[in-house]
């Protein structure tokens, strides 16, 4: 029995989610192979070979796999899936896009966003915006699973294992890549940052998010936002933390001007320490905050920056 992990990468760089998925895979007690699918991704495969616990790396480097479009990537994965008891990927937008397509092509029911492995067939996953945790047992002989990366620590490092280059013949005649608009940031990535400071509707406008920047710089934090702040156009949507945005679990989460709606809590309530700054003492965010400060954010944010 062995497990296939689909590597998460972007711009030729292996993303930290992969080491977390490998850690989840290690709980299945089987050999772990990593598939690196993409175009010009040799460096990704070399990085994947150094994740502790990985026994083999398969490299599929092909123009048809560029940008990991679901149509070609899923076709590739199903040609390799035979022989693997589990196929795993991070529940990132890439993994969420590809894996259900893989599952349906294999005629398997998928299990999404697991947060724990009970045994090789049984997994835990949040439902209803994290208001309940379901324990589910897959009756499928082969499991297709996405993993909530924030629920697992990253696997360590090892001396690199061999990378095997695959000969692929996938093609994609039904979809094509047109372009990408990436949000530039010098700060750590939201899902991997040890500290996250997020603003909500209380920030009032996009310019005021600059009040969070000095604090973020001092703490080495990523800046996030609530859906209200994104919908109001204050900040781009890839900063959204919540059920429908990114799920984070940093050491410290600072919620500023965020009421704490169910959908936002679903994205951050597994943070180790939660701080809430809000002028409304009745805001639901205070029910999950370890430290709450009832105050006007425009007064206290500059003080906070100074005090650090």
């Amino acid at each position: 029995m062995s497990v296939l992990v689909i590597a998460e990468h972007e711009n030729g760089v292996l993303k930290p989610e992969t080491a977390k998925v490998v850690h989840a895979a290690s709980k299945l007690g089987a050999e772990i192979h990593v598939l690196v699918a993409g175009h010009n991704v040799g460096s990704v495969a070399e990085a994947a070979a150094q994740i502790a616990g990985v026994t083999a790396v398969k490299l599929a480097d092909d123009g048809a796999l560029d940008h990991q479009l679901a149509e070609s990537t899923a076709d590739l994965v199903i040609t390799l899936a035979e022989g693997y008891s589990h196929v795993l990927a991070a529940a990132s937008t890439t993994g969420k896009n590809i894996m259900p397509r893989v599952a349906a092509l294999l005629d398997k029911s998928q299990i999404s966003e697991i947060v724990d492995v009970v045994d090789a067939d049984t997994f835990m996953r949040p439902i209803y915006a994290g208001n309940a945790i379901a324990t589910v047992k897959s009756l499928e002989a082969q499991k297709v699973i996405t993993v909530r990366a924030s629920a697992f620590d990253a696997a360590g490092e090892q001396a690199p294992v061999a990378v095997e280059s695959l000969t692929t013949s996938v093609e994609n005649t039904s979809s094509s890549f047109v372009g990408v608009e990436q949000t530039e940031s010098e700060r750590p990535e939201l899902t991997a940052a040890p500290v996250v400071i997020s603003g909500g509707r209380g920030m009032q406008n996009g310019e005021n998010f600059s009040l969070l920047e000095g604090i973020a710089d001092k703490l080495g934090a990523a800046i996030g936002a609530s859906r209200a702040a994104v919908d109001a156009g204050f900040v781009p949507n890839d900063m959204q933390v919540g059920q429908t945005g990114k799920i984070v679990a940093p050491d410290l989460y600072i919620a500023v001007g965020i009421s704490g709606a169910i959908q936002h809590l679903a994205g951050m309530k597994d943070s180790k320490v939660i701080v809430a700054i809000n002028k409304d003492p009745e805001a639901p965010i205070f029910q999950v905050a370890d430290y709450g400060l009832v105050a006007d954010l425009f007064e206290v944010l500059p003080q906070f920056e100074q005090a650090l």
Partner: protein
């Protein structure tokens, strides 16, 4: 162009789900139900395509017990032309739903299927992708913009790190993200008119799809409760606590 819009009846998004005392599932007795918010966006997008003259017919479909006809009537009131109810009392997984929808796609041959990206109850985010796979169509998931031109759907997708645009040859499957549009409200005259629009009922077991469970729900539990926190009086106290008590900053 015919557009098919699958919709789901779910717990209202404002309601906090309660776990049953015997931990068998979430308790939905006497809970307010509504159309899944992502499905509302899918309906809205289909109607906008019709208003723009791109779509000729919008068909809403829902799978489940009789109660989901209520959500189909809502879709009709919003502007869908007809509704199809695939009736079943079985607990369905995304794969079952996708297979039933694939049968309907075979019958109706829509050039575009628009679904929500996920339902806010099971939070699976699978059905659209599975339907695309089963019907051998390209997929544009997590769409925040859809443009139809020259036999293609150009879809801007919300991805980690920004936006990605892909071109899909029609027929295609699109799943909606929250920022695709702002759904309208149904007016009272339209709600009245919707009562006279066609709503066909198909028994799920006549479609030849094996609906046997492939995933067993073992247990549903409340998530771990967080310890109640404290309210600090000042920024100094907050920073001090974070440094010395929580030790999360240095």
């Amino acid at each position: 162009m015919k557009v098919l819009v699958p919709i789901k009846r779910v717990i209202d998004y404002n309601v906090k789900a309660r776990v049953k005392a015997d931990n068998s599932d979430v308790d939905l007795a006497n809970v307010k139900m509504a159309m899944n918010p992502f499905c509302e966006i899918a309906v809205e997008e289909a109607i906008r395509l019709k208003e723009a003259g791109t779509a000729s017919e919008v068909i809403a479909v829902s799978i489940g017990d009789k109660a989901c006809q209520e959500q189909l009537r809502t879709a009709l009131a919003l502007g869908a032309d007809k509704a199809i109810h695939i009736e079943t009392d079985a607990k369905l997984e995304s794969l079952h739903v996708a297979k039933l929808l694939a049968k309907l796609v075979e019958q109706e041959s829509p050039e575009l299927v628009i679904l929500g990206k996920q339902s806010i109850d099971s939070d699976n985010n699978q059905t659209g992708q599975m339907l695309a796979a089963l019907t051998k169509r390209p997929q544009g998931t997590f769409a925040s913009k859809v443009e139809i031109a020259d036999g293609k759907a150009v879809v801007t997708r919300e991805v980690d790190g920004g936006l990605q645009t892909v071109a899909l040859n029609l027929p295609a499957v699109v799943t909606t993200d929250l920022r695709l549009n702002e759904p309208r409200y149904a007016s009272l005259p339209n709600i009245m008119k919707a009562k006279r629009k066609p709503l066909d009922v198909i028994a799920a077991d006549t479609l030849g799809v094996d609906l046997a469970p492939r995933v067993e729900l073992v247990r549903v539990a409340e998530p771990a409760k967080r310890e109640a926190g404290i309210v600090v009086e000042s920024v100094e106290e907050l920073v001090n606590k974070l440094k010395t008590e929580a030790k999360v900053i240095s």
